[in-house]
Amino acid sequence: MQSDPHHDSANSVELPTPTAWPIITAFGLTLLFLGLVTTLFVSLAGFLLGLIGAIGWFGDVFPHPKHEPFPIRPHDEWPKDVCRVGRTVTHLHVGEHGHREQFPAAVHPYTAGFIGGLAGGAVMAVIACAWGYLVDQSLWYPVNLLAAAGLPELSTASTEVLKQFSLAGLVVALITHVTTSVLVGLLYTVLLPMLPAKREWIWGGILIPLMWTGLIWASLRFINPTLNARFEWLPFVISQIAFGMVCGFYVFRSTKVSTQQGWTVAARLGVEAQHPGEKKP
């Protein structure tokens, strides 16, 4: 027990004395409850028993919690020393000391994904709204179509209504669009370097948007029947690819930063200068 560790001697440990009061108190309380479903005499007995238990318990812990010395086992019964095992550890050969790094040692900064996502989302929104303004004669048409995925009053509305401004539609569309853009931007920072191609821009700019478009096409009937009924391929694909290009460009342009995961505690705390094996990839 931490409360009085000073009583420990070389041969014994102080442990709390076993006591009957907790079980008596608990039994008293149970009887108190049991009386409510049987007869009140049981409750009375339970109350008395609980009271006695509580007072006894108090005597156990006040003024000092009761302890008794517990003899320590003879030394040969002690646990065996934990010692070196005959096993070696496989090391990954990234850097000289990099075998236990948290991978990757360096990443694109998350801010790049964040800003890239926002920028890509902005370009995408501009293209969509421009298309809506020029072709469908309404700036708000694409906005409302997006919001119709989550808003029942828009999903059941006519095309004329969809072309008018709706505050709820704008808010929902904005939240959805910004959240999705930022999240996809973050995904770009972490996923693009993993992809098996040297030309990352093809993946990020074209292939991923195309895959994404295909996925949306397959599920749009359920996710957003309103948009599905009024779907236009060309602006959709163009805006998706624009997003990919802008966001990807932002992410690749950023310099990678170290995650510090390979550094020692001391190095990270700034107590030591730097881990000797730390290398910039």
Binding site: L15, L29, F33, L36, R73, R87, V265
Partner: protein, 568 residues
């Protein structure tokens, strides 16, 4: 890893018979019983928690068997409706409060102090009190079978379902004392639970050994810290609504009296403010065990320790704000329904992270298929199903169909059996050598695993489909011709396999206690502090309070050339 050899624990079939361990023959039965009654030792209390939990598990499990026997065929008259209703009420109540909670607290009691290098819990007497409160309230609950009209027609056992929706619990619809048994026993076991949770929190925060910072605490302890906080926050609402119900039933208060302007929905809100976190109170300890067992048997540290801690905290936090997803059908506003649907879906994110991180831990490792690991892998698969059906239920419109159908029954049994019970099995196989000094038999373990797993999927898999076909929960019989017969029959057959599995497990516990292979201090070559002491540990756990410098103190000692503390 005695003497630096690299023996593994797989070849357990050549048993070594040794004389009884020191201390075993010290006293007669009376001394032993006296020891159990008066002890304040966290290890004994922990084992008593788990032992009595397993006892109630068998009783409540037999009730489930009878339930399945009744439902095996349509229009069955095996069990009278009122008896059946008492069965499922007692089955649910006992499994949650008399099986799940005590086993979890038992694990925490036994392991948390050793893992943080302490000699006992912060308040050892309160710990004993918490155990006895649970123990007596368990018997109190079952005593209802003998009370009132006696065993005939199942006595005064409660028949109101484990969530006891008002006004079915009102005096007008529940005469006699059956609902009072339910309320009072849960109130008193709640007192014990809160005492124990408080104890776990204080122990974890204040009794860590030197160097055991929060960032180095084993994830097991971290998870239990989160669980204890959930208990502290979620149990009081349950106690509060039990008090209200007692006031209603004994003093004529009007909390849930719909005739006097009381609200029936209010009970549901209060109950589920407790009830949903309770689900996480039950499943997080499963995660805790996974966090210890998967790394050891993959021979790698846990993948992404900080994010695992964060995910635990997130799950606990979100779980306090999702309760009304149990109430999508009560007619909340569309805004309310949307809010709770969204918050529920958010839980999937940290839960998903945990599943992926466990797979990440196994990836690139050298997996040893010992019994604990086998149960953990089955957990991964089953909990994945449970999680995904949970996502389906979170979509409120889908829930309008699925709620209170057999799909829900299947879902939460995948959570509680496929999730929690599997990790309890894993934990028992993993820590049994520590508690009793002997390995459990691998051969019996495999039989146990396969029989139980087949039975489990056979029982609860088809219930998803019965739910799709419109079968509601809690019906004691159903008419033929509605397409439910085959699924129910499969379900009932599965129970036979599960029973066999559990029997083998119990047999394994007894058999290995007598004849299991001697375990040694550290049979699994593990890394946390409990393996640095003897099996079983002495009353004081450690001769000298240890000091740690990393998340894996024993790894540091075993690999002095390549310790963790250099890199964390």
């Amino acid at each position: 890893m005695a003497n630096g050899t690299t023996t593994t624990a797989t070849d357990d079939d050549d048993f070594v018979i040794t004389p009884t361990r020191p201390g075993e023959e010290k006293g007669a039965w009376s001394a032993w019983i006296q020891d159990l009654l008066f002890t304040v030792d966290h290890k004994k209390l922990g084992l008593m928690y788990i032992g009595s939990g397993l006892l109630f598990f068998v009783v409540a499990g037999l009730m489930a068997t009878l339930i399945r026997a009744q439902l095996a065929f349509p229009n069955s008259h095996l069990i009278a409706p009122d008896v059946y209703n008492r069965f499922f009420t007692m089955h649910g109540t006992a499994m949650v409060f008399m099986v799940g909670m005590p086993i979890i607290f038992g694990m925490a009691n036994y392991l948390v102090p050793i893992m943080i290098g302490a000699r006992d819990m912060a308040f050892p007497r309160l710990n004993a009190f918490g155990f006895w409160m649970f123990f007596f309230s368990g018997w109190f609950l079952y005593f209802s079978y003998f009370a009132g009209p006696g065993l005939y027609n199942a006595g005064s056992a409660p028949d109101i379902g484990w969530f006891a929706y008002s006004p079915l619990t009102a005096k007008a619809f529940s005469r006699g004392h059956s609902s009072d048994y339910w309320t009072l026993s849960l109130l008193s076991s709640g007192i014990g639970s809160m005492a124990t949770a408080l104890n776990i929190i204080v122990t974890t925060i204040s009794l860590r050994c030197k160097g055991m910072t929060l960032g180095r605490m084993p994830l097991f302890v971290w998870t239990f810290l989160v669980v204890a906080f959930l208990v502290i926050l979620a149990l009081p609402p349950l106690s509060a609504c039990q008090i209200m119900l007692i006031l209603d039933r004994y003093l004529g208060a009007k909390f849930f009296d719909t005739q006097s302007g009381g609200s029936a929905v209010l009970w549901q809100h209060f109950f589920w403010i407790f009830g949903h976190p309770e689900v996480y109170i039950l499943i997080l300890p499963g995660f805790a065990a996974m966090n210890e067992i998967v790394p050891v048997f993959s021979r790698k540290p846990i993948f992404g320790y900080p994010i695992m801690v964060g995910a635990n905290v997130m799950i606990a936090f979100i779980s306090l704000g999702v309760w009304a997803h149990h109430m999508f059908t009560v007619g909340m506003t569309s805004l309310g329904n949307s809010f709770f649907a969204i918050s529920t879906m958010l839980v999937a994110i940290p839960t998903g992270i945990k599943i992926f991180n466990w797979i990440g831990t196994m990836y690139g490792g050298k997996i040893r298929f010992e019994m604990p690991m086998i149960f953990c892998i089955a957990f991964l698969f089953q909990f994945l199903i449970a999680g995904l059906t949970g996502v389906m239920l979170s979509v409120a419109p889908f829930d309008w169909q699925l709620s209170d159908s057999y799909f829900v029954v299947a879902h939460f049994h995948y959570v509680l059996i496929g999730g929690l019970l599997y990790t309890i099995f894993a934990s028992i196989y993993y820590w049994y050598p520590k508690a009793f000094g002997r390995m459990m038999s691998h051969k019996i373990g495999l039989w146990h695993f396969w029989l139980f797993t087949i039975g489990f999927h056979l029982t609860f898999g088809p219930q998803h489909i019965a739910g799709f076909l419109g079968m509601p929960r809690r019906i004691y019989t159903y008419e033929a011709g509605r397409g439910w017969e085959i699924w129910n029959l499969m379900s009932s057959i599965g129970v036979i396999f599960q029973l066999a599995g559990v029997l083998l497990f119990v047999w394994n516990l007894i058999y290995s206690y007598r004849k299991g292979k001697i375990a040694g201090d550290d049979p699994w070559d593990a890394w946390t502090l409990e393996w640095a002491t003897t099996s079983p540990p002495p009353d004081y756990n450690f001769e000298k309070i240890p000091e740690v410098r990393s998340r894996r103190p024993l790894w540091d000692l075993k690999h002095p050339d390549d310790p963790d503390w250099k890199y964390e």
